[in-house]
Symmetry: D3
């Protein structure tokens, strides 16, 4: 299989699933210190006992960072593509310590780049799934990719 490299290589609707990773209490502790986000949902177990979920919730920013980490792991660098950013980052369900997450990446849309000739814009949907196959994060990743025959 040759790597997906040029705009033409992205096929609408195709998807791949990354390997998985278990989120741990240690990850949440490290993320709190790394990001400086010590909100009680993430670091105060007594507060969390009074809340609907009863336990500490992983930071959304951590799930996002791990999702990108899982997505790029083992992937070759694509010299013909660059990340433009993300649209619609959503967290439909919480992630807890002990959950095992993986990412399903789907080619969601393709179109010519509005301004840059020889380039296309690809949107990949990145869905983070937990061990119950529930979507816990949804993001639309916008890529600018060179056309092969530009």
């Amino acid at each position: 299989m040759h790597p997906v490299e040029f705009f033409e290589d992205f096929e609408m609707g195709t998807s791949r699933v990354t390997h998985a990773r278990t989120v741990t209490e240690a990850d949440i502790v490290i993320h709190a210190g790394h990001s400086g986000d010590f909100m009680p949902h993430h670091t105060d177990a007594e507060f969390c006992k009074t809340q609907p979920f009863k336990k500490v919730i992983a930071h959304g920013t951590m799930t996002f960072a791990m999702a990108i980490g899982l997505s790029v792991s083992g992937q070759p660098l694509n010299p013909n593509g660059m990340s433009y950013g993300y649209n619609k980052l959503r967290y439909p369900k919480p992630v807890f310590a002990g959950d095992t997450i993986r990412v399903r990446i789907t080619v969601h849309s393709k179109e010519d780049h509005p301004k840059k000739k020889g380039y296309g814009q690809v949107v990949e949907v990145k869905e983070v799934l937990n061990q119950h196959d529930e979507v816990v994060m949804y993001a639309e990743h916008v890529l600018f990719v060179k056309k092969r025959n530009a």
Copy 2:
């Protein structure tokens, strides 16, 4: 000053700026290990010497996590608001080790919640600025907030 708590408390166009934080080489190393994103832009100084920026670039996911950390630091928990997610996450300029970042948070739009009576939807723009006042990250944060007189 009473805290911004209910939908009515958000005033269009007002903004606040957080305290600042210097991004370090250690942060980038910790983020690579924490996220599992060891792409060469972030962890291979020799590769980076061959690239336009000549040096290692901070992960976009780290800038995002630190931006949220700066935004919530010292803020009271708002029991009447909840984060729905983000729109349009963009990275107009790179962040390097040694850069000092802070976040400017602006009330960008307000409207009634499309479905949930008694609630409004607020979009706050979070712009990460570096020490040269350049915008290095732009995000639209979508909040659902209770109305005071719901």
Copy 3:
């Protein structure tokens, strides 16, 4: 409420309580590596089973560091005050992984600075409380603070 900034602003006996944070096994592991203190009370669960408390105990230096972290979080920098040091740092009870700690800060004494005209010396007592409202750390923090009308 204007910030407590000058010597005159400190009112004897007033106190504030910080937000709370749960101490985790990960924190103790990180602290051992960070400080280099691998004494068996903190890192050897088998040894601890033979001791009165039966389980691993948090480092006193970690409780102290977290107490200061909780104390300064969200507080404005006071350009008119400086920390002189601490007196009587005591640990009346152990802290375990799973405990949730917060800090009660009380203005304990006020007097003119013995030598520096225009300055006063304030002692704030910092008590770390666990989820059972037990005092697990006690410290007297000595501050030198400018007088407003110096």
Copy 4:
């Protein structure tokens, strides 16, 4: 040399010096996240440029934690002694990234325990020295130690 174990083994005025350790930027970053203390003296290089020392200063709580780590490293556990706490913790000079610190531990005073028969109270002074032999931290460590012939 037999280990210093009982009250009688502590000789007034004797001292030992620990091995040394270089404080790094990474240590300060890790300590900020671990303690939650992101005050600008420790994490904002731009702010620090406007201050007398011109650069980021290590957290006092980190110097304290490292000092205890250096003090206990390679020392046998003393089953006849217990730490009661500290008096007079002072920071006469700042510690910067790049400084190399070690601890000089001196038997400062010895007296019978005021209440507990068969025990004595020993005060050890722990002085943290930098590479210029300047004292950057001073602490009086109070120990309760069993008497050999109690």
Copy 5:
């Protein structure tokens, strides 16, 4: 290219080179705390100034851990192979903060497993190279691998 999975798939003398990673001061600090190895070659910059290399040297155990990390990154799990251990782990040259390392993995020997029918023993040489193409670590990794037609 199908993955190297069975004994028959390993071809004598073939090699692959992993992606690269820059070793940083932060890595050395983290490794010292993680391993508990605070020997002065790794953590005392003043001591190192008196030594032939003049600066802090990375722990051999860290180079080893990173080498394995680089080797497995992006590789599929091989259900037909298992690691038996290593022979001849050598460190011909030091690694310093700022060095960029990668691993060259070469099939060094193949033979029938001495006892286990249907299995072979493969030795892969893992050489860690720095940015000057110098070998800084050499290890012989012993694998037990199922035969395809066992």
Copy 6:
């Protein structure tokens, strides 16, 4: 007891046992990020449930790093010895979070250095034992040591 310093000081068959350390989930998480080794045996709890051991296994490279850390902790630097490398690194049994490990170090062989006059070669066996006294790691550490009367 004078320190073991010269070739003559190593006595065949003598051994010492280090202090112990409990391996935690946090250690495994930190090691995965530090080494970049996110293989499912170490980071995917769901995968591990399908495997013979049912739970996450510590990285062999972490056990090795901790073993060296335990071995050198509190030991004086020997100016007359240098590490040449390791032979036969083996992992007879897995290490799990919660296991407490210590190292037994035995003088295994002594001979004249094959080339370097005035030096000898000493092999120390380092065996990592868990709380059930099972050997979980075995390594032969090769040292070059000066002779006292060289």
